[in-house]
Structures are given as structure tokens and as C-alpha cells.
Amino acid sequence: MRLLTLVTIAIAFVSPAAFGQSTNPASPAPGNPGGVPPGTRQSAPGMPAPRQTNQPDRTFIHAAAVGGLAEVELGRLAAQRATSRRVREFAERMVRDHSAANDRLGTLANTNGIALPDKFDEEHKAMRAKLEQSSDAQFDRAYIEGQIIEHQKTAQLLEYEIGSGENAELKNFASDLLPTVLDHLRMAQTISAEMAHQAATEMPRKEMPRERR
């Protein structure tokens, strides 16, 4: 209990910018008041008081939590099943990075009094089923292709929150996470390109009909 309070204080302390009063360009930027929901409490005129959420915040937190959960669970699965070392290492990194992000999101949800989903949604269930059903030969490819799509979607989700969210702590979280997610995306794309290249070189060469003149 004490520890949790300490952590909360520490977080509040290291990110004073999170409360929307800062003129530091790196801190969350003010939103368009045209979209502020009626009844929003304000700490100063034009500044939504901390620890409130608007609709984009709630959409974000829900999708980010489910996505984060899936990253860790599918990452564990891939760390066991993947054949290629690069894919296993990538999967381990996903487990590590997304566990850390999930913890931070959990703390934020807690302090903001939001319940996080703790189960997969249909989309991620389908993805898990697809991975479980793929043969060993198909697995690496299926996992990496799925990861590319997941990270593309997460990047758009984070950008959406940065632009449309109201809760400064959540916006800050999204800003902090985005470079890492884009980095993951680049890694997955590189691995995918390598796999495609390898598959092409290993493919048995078919006799090509000679070009007629």
C-alpha cells in the first residue's frame, strides 16, 4: 500500500508536465476546446483538471490495454514456438517492452479510476487461434505478419490519443510509447523482408520457359 502511494507520488513528481500547465513543447499540448465535453472540470480556465477522461481517452485506454495484453501473451507463445532466432528475440523483446508499458498503463488506469479489460477481444482471439493452428513451418511468418498489423494499428491509436485525448497523463504515456512502437514496427518489417528473401532463395527453381524471339 505504502509502496503504491510512493510510486504514484514518484510518477506525479517526475512528470509535472502531465498536468497540462506547461509551456514546455515536449509536454502534452492543449486540445481544441471545441471538443471538450460539457461538464468537464477545469483546474484553470481552458485547462481540463487532471484525472478526467474524454471519449477518445476511454477508447484509447481500452484498445491499448487489450493490445498490450495480446502483445505479451502472443509474445510468450512466439518465444516458445518460433523457429528462427530473430523471431524469438523479437518476441522476447515484445514481452519485455509491452509488460513495462502495461504496468504503466495499469498504474494510470488505477489513479484515474478506470477498470481495464483483462481478456482478449474477438480480434485478438482470432489472431491467437490462427497462430495456435499454424504449423511450425508457418508460425514465424504468421506471427510476424500479425505483429506488423498490430504495431501499425497501435501507432495510429497512439497518434489518435495524442491529438484527441484530454487526460494529460494518458497523452504523455502515448507520446512516450510511440517512438518505441514505431521502432518495433520497423524491426518486424525488417524481419519479414528477411524471411521473404530467404524463402525466395530457398524456393526450388522452376524451369522457366525460354523467351521466344
Binding site: T23, A26, P33, G34, V36, G46, A126, K130, L178
Partner: protein, 464 residues
């Protein structure tokens, strides 16, 4: 035969998965403009309360990135002779590096050590979340004086210091009357004065085109609905509110071509001088004719590429067979300012140019590789888009004043004719002086130019 039901079943499963995979898209406001949730007076009060902080944030960002002091080049004026051209490199270096030590590093090293000067990165809009058109004060005041039309926003002001914008009002040169020189009489063309200024100089068709280019129409921030950023119900904006005298006043906006909002990069208004020689239009859209661009600017500069929002605020769609060609033909007679030192092929006349300018031309054509894209004989254009891949030098995805910095991707090559007249530079106005652009390309193209070569390039560009 019996194989078919199986295939069908497999397909059905596959399509189920496909449907499920699309089950959780982003909400509509990730692409479409949301309707306001509050009455205008509430929004206005909140916006006004936020404004000091919003302006301070942007000021802090500009100060961090640039040396904003007023330091003109001796004896270098813009074409109308009304404003000096600013001198020196204004982008600030990260601590511990010099321009030479920086250009000796590999892109990877610069990225990993975070050494790319922040001023080379995308420049955010003053208020990214709201975006929209922002006019410099001189334009606002002059439009108010001549037309009593209000193009001032209550939520934000123009951000760049006056010395880094084009001279105001800019001169107007016509391809149809080179002998006259500047025909603006030192005035800003508006709906009030265009007729007196142009009668006897332009044709009836051009006159009607000009009238349309000067007629205000509703725009996202300037309109009659509750969703606007002007205090009064606004008549809207005109084409030449940004393209002042067919040049630019550095009014800025956000790209209509990207979503979500946080990823929309800033756009600095381009000059319309020399449109007649340009084959592709728009830094990203690459539209193929001035007619296409003119027609579509009502959808983009005015409404951010959101035709749904436009429908509610009052859309103006100029008639393609009559109005658009007249507007286009008026734009197509706007010439570059005279460049007396250039010959018909766009090369320096050695009998008129200085040694330094000639040396600069050599760098431009040779070691600097500039002429590969900015080709002298075709108005310093290649009518192509190029991806300069700046993201080799920095980690993408950082958020700066609400803008998510992402790779620029392919951008249209801009002309360099009359370039001293159109600061700030690049599609988003991220560079303030010509010396900045030389440092930028020196790094991006890995040129390793000497200081002497850099200085000569700047001197050369002043002659264009």
C-alpha cells in the same frame, strides 16, 4: 466435386476472421472532423484563456530551435526593395557539435546520439490539435482596413517574427507585361481595388478569374457556424489572403492529406509565381494541372480535405468549365521576379555576376548536386517529388508541441527562382534563411561542403 464445400467452408472461416480483424477500428473523429460539443461563447472563453500558454509553448519551441535575431544581409533586399533578406544559419546546433563535425558523422550516429538539430525536424502548427489557417498580422490588418473583413483568430496568433516572412505587400510581375515590372502599385490586391489596378492591363477573362480569387468563401475556421475561430460570423477567406499578391505572406495551415490530426504536418503557403512552368502541384498531392488544384483548393486549403464538414459550413464549388479556367489563367500569367544576371537558359551571365556568385553556380551544378533536382533551364524544377529521407537522422515518432514527427516522404521539388523572396523555407517553413537550407542539404545529401562553398551557394541563390 466434393472438394468445393470444403473450400467454401474454409473461405467462410477465413472471411469470418477477416471480419473479426476489422472489429475494432478507430472512432470516426480519427478521420472526420467532430462536431463541436459546446456553444461558441464557452469555446471562445476557453480558447482565450488557453491562448497565452499556447503562444508561449510555440515561442519556447522557436527559441530552442532557432536564432531569431534580426540580422539582415548587407545590400540584399527582396524584389520589391521593401524588406531585407536575413543572414546566417539560424538553426541551433546541439551542444558539443559544429556544422563540420556533424557533417562528418554518419546518419546512424547522428540518430543514435540525438544530434540532429531540432530546427531540421518538422515544424509544428501553433496549435496542432485545432490546426487551420493562420494569417500574419499585416495581412489581417490590411484586409480589415480595406474590406472590414475579419481574419483574426481568437485562439492563436501567427508565430514567426516579421523578419522571416516575405515583404508585404509583395510585388506582382506579369508574363504578359514584362515591360511594366511590378504592377501592384505597392498595394495589396483585394476585392476593393483589383478592378482599378488591373483595368487595361489584363483581359476580361483574367479579370473575372481575379475577382473569384479575391472573393471570400466560408472556410473551416472562418464561417458563420458555431464551429469557427473568428469572433464574428465571418464572410470567409479568399485565395489571395494566403497567396498575397499571388506570392505568399507565409500564412500557414496543416496538410489536408494526412490523418489523424496529430500527424498532420504544417504547410507554409507557396508562391504562385511561375505556376505556368510547373507540372505538378501541391507538396504531396502532385495534382497535374493548375485547374485541378484551383478547383480542389476549396476542399483542401478551405476544409482540410473533409468534404463532409464543408457541406455544413457552406461549400463553394467553382464551375469547372467557366470559373476554374478563368481563375487558372489569371494565376498562369504571374511571373517570377526579374533575375537580371541569368541568361535564357537560367545560367549566370559571367559579365554580370561576381566571382563568388559564379563559384556558387559551380557548386550548385557540381559538388552540391543541387541542379540534379533544381534544373536551371526548367525554372529550377524537375517536376518530380523526392524523398530526402531525413528520418535517417532522427528517431521518428517524437511528439513536439502536439505534432508527431514522422518521415516526410516524397515532397515536390520547389523552384528556386525568386527564392530570396519567400522565407520561411521548405514545405512547412522549418528553415528561416537560405544559409539554413545550405546546411540542411549539405547534411542530407552528405556533401561535405567547405565554408567557402556554402557561402558562395548562398550568394548564388540571391541572384536567382
Amino acid at each position: 466435386m466434393s472438394k468445393y464445400p470444403k473450400t467454401a467452408a474454409a473461405l467462410a472461416v477465413a472471411s469470418l476472421i477477416a471480419v473479426a480483424a476489422l472489429a475494432d477500428p478507430l472512432p470516426p473523429d480519427a478521420t472526420y472532423r467532430p462536431l463541436p460539443t459546446q456553444p461558441l461563447d464557452v469555446v471562445k472563453a476557453l480558447d482565450e484563456a488557453q491562448k497565452p500558454q499556447v503562444m508561449q509553448r510555440q515561442q519556447a519551441l522557436l527559441e530552442q530551435r532557432y536564432d531569431l535575431s534580426n540580422r539582415p544581409i548587407d545590400n540584399a533586399m527582396m524584389s520589391g526593395g521593401r524588406k531585407p533578406v536575413q543572414d546566417g544559419v539560424r538553426v541551433r546546433l546541439a551542444t558539443g557539435v559544429t556544422w563540420d563535425s556533424l557533417s562528418a558523422m554518419s546518419p546512424d550516429e547522428i540518430r543514435q546520439r540525438g544530434l540532429l538539430p531540432a530546427g531540421f525536424m518538422p515544424l509544428p502548427h501553433v496549435k496542432q490539435a485545432t490546426g487551420g489557417q493562420v494569417f500574419p498580422n499585416q495581412q489581417i490588418d490590411e484586409i480589415n482596413r480595406q474590406e472590414s473583413r475579419n481574419i483574426r483568430r481568437f485562439d492563436i496568433d501567427f508565430d514567426l517574427p516579421d523578419q522571416f516572412t516575405p515583404e508585404f505587400p509583395p510585388p506582382i510581375f506579369l508574363t504578359t507585361h514584362p515591360e511594366l515590372g511590378d504592377v501592384s502599385h505597392g498595394q495589396l490586391l483585394t476585392i476593393k481595388n483589383y478592378y482599378q489596378l488591373m483595368i487595361g492591363i489584363i483581359t476580361p477573362v483574367q479579370m473575372e478569374g481575379l475577382r473569384l480569387l479575391l472573393t471570400p468563401f466560408p472556410q473551416e475556421e472562418f464561417n458563420q457556424t458555431e464551429d469557427r475561430k473568428s469572433a464574428d460570423q465571418s464572410l470567409g477567406v479568399t485565395c489571395l489572403d494566403c497567396h498575397a499578391n499571388f506570392h505568399t505572406n507565409a500564412a500557414f495551415h496543416q496538410t489536408p492529406d494526412v490523418r489523424p490530426q496529430a500527424a498532420r504536418f504544417r504547410l507554409d503557403t507557396v508562391s504562385l509565381r511561375g505556376m505556368f512552368n510547373q507540372q505538378i502541384h501541391g507538396s504531396k498531392r502532385s495534382l497535374r494541372s493548375i485547374e485541378d488544384f484551383t478547383q480542389f483548393e476549396q476542399r483542401t486549403a478551405y476544409f482540410n480535405g473533409d468534404h463532409v464538414s464543408a457541406q455544413r459550413k457552406g461549400v463553394n464549388l467553382p464551375d469547372r468549365f467557366d470559373q476554374v479556367p478563368m481563375m487558372a489563367q489569371m494565376q498562369n500569367i504571374i511571373d517570377f521576379p526579374p533575375a537580371p544576371k541569368l541568361d535564357p537558359l537560367g545560367r549566370l551571365d559571367p559579365s554580370k555576376a561576381t566571382q563568388q556568385e559564379l563559384a556558387g553556380e559551380q557548386v550548385f551544378l557540381g559538388k552540391g548536386q543541387c541542379a540534379q533536382c533544381h534544373m536551371p533551364q526548367t525554372s529550377f524544377l524537375d517536376n518530380n517529388m523526392h524523398d530526402l529521407k531525413l528520418e535517417r537522422f532522427y528517431n521518428v515518432g517524437q511528439t513536439v508541441n502536439g505534432l508527431v514527427t514522422l518521415p516526410d516522404g516524397p515532397i515536390k521539388t520547389f523552384t528556386l527562382r525568386g527564392i530570396k523572396d519567400s522565407p520561411p523555407y521548405m514545405h512547412d517553413g522549418r528553415l528561416l534563411t537560405l544559409a539554413d537550407t545550405v546546411e540542411f542539404f549539405n547534411l542530407v545529401l552528405g556533401l561535405k561542403l567547405t565554408q567557402e562553398e556554402k557561402d558562395s551557394l548562398v550568394a548564388y541563390m540571391l541572384t536567382l
